[in-house]
Amino acid sequence: MSIVLNNITKHYGADLVLDDVSDEIPSGSLTALLGPSGSGKSTLLRIIAGLEPHDGGQVHLHGRDVTTVAARQRNIGFCFQDYAPFNQMSVFDNVAYGLKVRRVPAAQRRREVDDLLGLVRLSEFSDRYPRQLSGGQRQRMALARALAIKPDVLLLDEPFAALDAQVGAEMRVWVKSLQRELGITTILVTHNQSEAMEVADRLVILHRGRIEQVGPPEQVYDKPATDFVHGFLGPLTTWMGTSYRPHDLQLCDDGDGLSARVVDVVRLGFEVRVVVEREGATTWVQLTHHEARQFNPVVGSLVSISAR
């Protein structure tokens, strides 16, 4: 189920929230709508879902123009950032809701819901209520609920934002493999660039209502189309007047590079940052654990820097 967006425009009062946004999302892909807050990404997602009206342009789902079609008829699965659980219903009833709407007979309903709960590993929680679940469990319930109706498209609004680091990391891996397994066209909205690059096959970077760049993560990271994308996707530092990624700079033997004085050494577990100063300008270089041990930079000493 591919999604085609043609010239989507949206105003909110006097503000232009989405400005002529067009894109084609391939069937079966996991696309991340990435951008800072206020870039319009959540609004775009809701427009694709049919939960919000737009002022101009069309939305096509698998060739069919759904611009005027109501949300309940678009057969999409949507997950809000707060998971929007139906608090007064059990986990089972939450997941079964869409099936009940479609008048699936009770026995079949039970089978499908049990399968889904097994898929998201919530089988023992079937009779519990959302308030008895943790954040990660609620998210899995929300996913199961959306998948129950066998949607053509899955839309996730900041799915990992409310989870703590450990749980979030696990969920990202799990969602990615689930999507691969099911093959369902998925769009997820996030403001976190490392999350987007970890999970998605394809990034759509939005800034102030406009698409800045589209492409697979490595391509967008290595060949940014605009300054905004360059700065947004990864850290930047300046060395001798040019912008570099800190890991594209390295310490080298004296004579092979230009010298600078070490101002600070920050050890972050897996990476080591060396902050240096030359001719009044500060630069930071990212080293691997191994390299740091090899060169052993000390605050106050001189080191040689070159680009990789």
């Binding site: 879902a49 049919g50 057969n75 809000f80 139906f86 608090n87 007064q88 308030r131 008895q132 959306a146």
Partner: protein, 270 residues
């Protein structure tokens, strides 16, 4: 707050005890002052029984109507913000601050035979003043804020995400209203219903004006109590007062339960 807490506690308990508990006890004491036999006989007083029955009939219509209207208006105010809905929001709260006599008076001015609406309505054969319908109307007017003040904050807190999710799952508006919206409002509505019931059976000032206070016809239980006192039959009056006090205690129990359940709803218990 260790050493002085018992002092504060005693002071407050004495205050509330004297102000609230004492009169409450006194009502029941007076109700049974002449023994249980006299009380049983007084329960059979024809005028009071007729008044009691009228009060029940009023409640049967006024309470459901008020809940429907209250929930409807609350949904409208929260989901369709506009200057008109903000105005209605303020107006809906008004009966809390306005004298019931004033409410009764304004209803009379509007719906009496020679009133603004009364005249056209009378020409169609509809009379809405000094009868059962007037009492129902007055009861609804004074109770309007009781439901909305419970429901509106809850609607704001719950937000629209659940309803929008239900939309994406294919549900239509009616189904969403009953399976999602109302489900999250149950205890707030129950609270509002209970308060409405208490207010409807207990309304005095507004009903005094709009009913005409005709014995056996438009005399509610509250009017009956007042009339008994004015006519120097305080013992009969206290029987009615005792009945209403009993219903108030029942109301308090239900309110306490609803509040307790609401608190549970907010707790995260794995």
């Amino acid at each position: 707050m260790r050493g002085r807490s018992w002092l504060l506690r005693t002071a407050v308990l004495a205050y509330v005890g004297a102000l609230i508990a004492l009169p409450l006890y006194f009502v029941f004491q007076r109700m049974l002052a002449h023994g249980f036999g006299a009380f049983a006989r007084a329960l059979g007083d024809h005028e009071m029984d007729s008044a009691l029955w009228l009060t029940v009939r009023v409640a049967l219509l006024a309470v459901p109507l008020n809940v429907i209207f209250g929930v409807g208006v609350s949904l409208w105010i929260v989901r369709h913000p506009s200057s008109l809905s903000r105005l209605i929001d303020t107006l809906v709260d008004l009966p809390l601050a306005v004298s019931p006599i004033v409410i009764g008076l304004s209803l009379e001015l509007a719906y009496a035979q020679n009133g603004w609406l009364g005249r056209p309505l009378a020409s169609w054969g509809l009379h809405l003043m000094f009868n059962y319908w007037a009492i129902v109307m007055a009861s609804i007017y004074v109770s309007i804020p009781l439901v909305s003040r419970q429901v509106i904050p809850l609607l704001r807190e719950v937000g629209t995400h659940q309803e929008q999710t239900a939309q994406t799952l294919g549900a239509g508006s009616v189904r969403i209203f009953f399976t999602v919206t109302m489900r999250s409002l149950t205890w707030a509505t129950a609270y509002g219903v209970t308060l409405t019931l208490a207010r409807v059976i207990g309304e005095y000032g507004a009903v005094l004006i709009v009913s005409g206070n005709v014995a056996y016809v438009t005399e509610t239980l509250t009017l009956n109590i007042g009339n008994n006192f004015d006519n120097f039959s305080p013992d009969q009056g206290f029987v009615g007062a005792g009945l209403l006090a009993l219903s108030s205690i029942f109301v308090l129990l239900v309110l306490g339960l609803a509040r307790h359940r609401e608190r549970l709803r907010h707790e995260y218990r794995p």
